[in-house]
Amino acid sequence: MATAAVRGRLTWQTATVTSVIRETDAVRTIELEVRDWDGHQAGQHLDVRLTAEDGYTAERSYSIATADDEPVAITVERLDDGEVSPYLTEELRAGDQLELRGPIGGWFVWDTSDGGPLLLVAGGSGVVPLRAILRHRQRAGSDVPARLLYSSRTLADVIYHSELDQYRDGVEVSYALTRSQPPGWTGYSGRVDAALLAKVAWPASRRPLAFVCGPTSFVEAVAGNLVALGYPAGRVKTERFGGT
């Protein structure tokens, strides 16, 4: 037991909230000061643990929202029936402490040496790790061409909207709004289906690298359609989230 306990270097630690940023009505970015942090890769996540007074604990995983040379931040969407997200999005204030461990994950990660072109497909708050990838690409001075296709219910639900709109130089961002579109909307409407992917995705002949993140049903549909378009399954990296 003793040897097993010391093998891993992933240990729970206490981080301090430095700021809470409102992204949308239901979404907050929580910036953290983490003492024992050796940096992270774009696409990784961390685990958050909340402990109630009676000792009951709840753990959740959240994607890291920032590039590796930036302070650690997570972006959290409030789920009304959730155990953890209402606290993180509504109660947490700068100066509060949070128990976490990370960074975690070695598959759904991107570094400049992995190349591209990059196809990033996000459903809702699945945009968070993809935003970290875009920020890392930018800050590392990479010229890998990147396309982000971001599915959201309404324009008001789009996270990081003003930041994403500022991308130029090899990054193309397009939105697909599923529930309602503002007057004069020139982006895409409806779900991310085979026809929309055929229009937006890099042709398979360019050997693109795809990252798809969102709710399980979204990810399965998009990944299936990309493989049907000729993307090798091994070049379509997926991350599913759901529920609580």
Binding site: G8, L10, S61, G102, I104, W107, T216, T238, E239, R240
Partner: protein
């Protein structure tokens, strides 16, 4: 219950194996399909954590944690390879 994928248990597997396992390669004992752990089908709190093959649906791995101890059943896979040698 919504099925997630192996990314969701990256922290749990790190705790058990002492290294990142999401990029490790599994081979299903039932159908022989190879897949990285990140792409497996994961049910959290089943109770316990159940990992299934995305190709055939068979159980690859079960992890139950009780009183600080992790019980890990890897009987559903014939290989679990981190590619790190050793």
């Amino acid at each position: 219950m919504v099925a997630l994928d192996g990314n969701a248990i990256g922290g749990l597997l790190f705790e058990v194996f002492g290294t990142d396992m999401t990029a490790a390669q599994t081979i299903c004992a039932t159908c022989g399909a190879a897949a990285v752990v990140a792409e497996t089908v994961v049910y959290l709190r089943a109770p316990g954590t159940v990992v299934r093959c995305r190709t055939c649906g068979s159980v690859l791995m079960i992890i139950a944690q009780i009183r600080g101890m992790s019980c890990v059943d890897l009987g559903g896979m014939t290989a679990l390879d981190t590619g790190q040698g050793g």
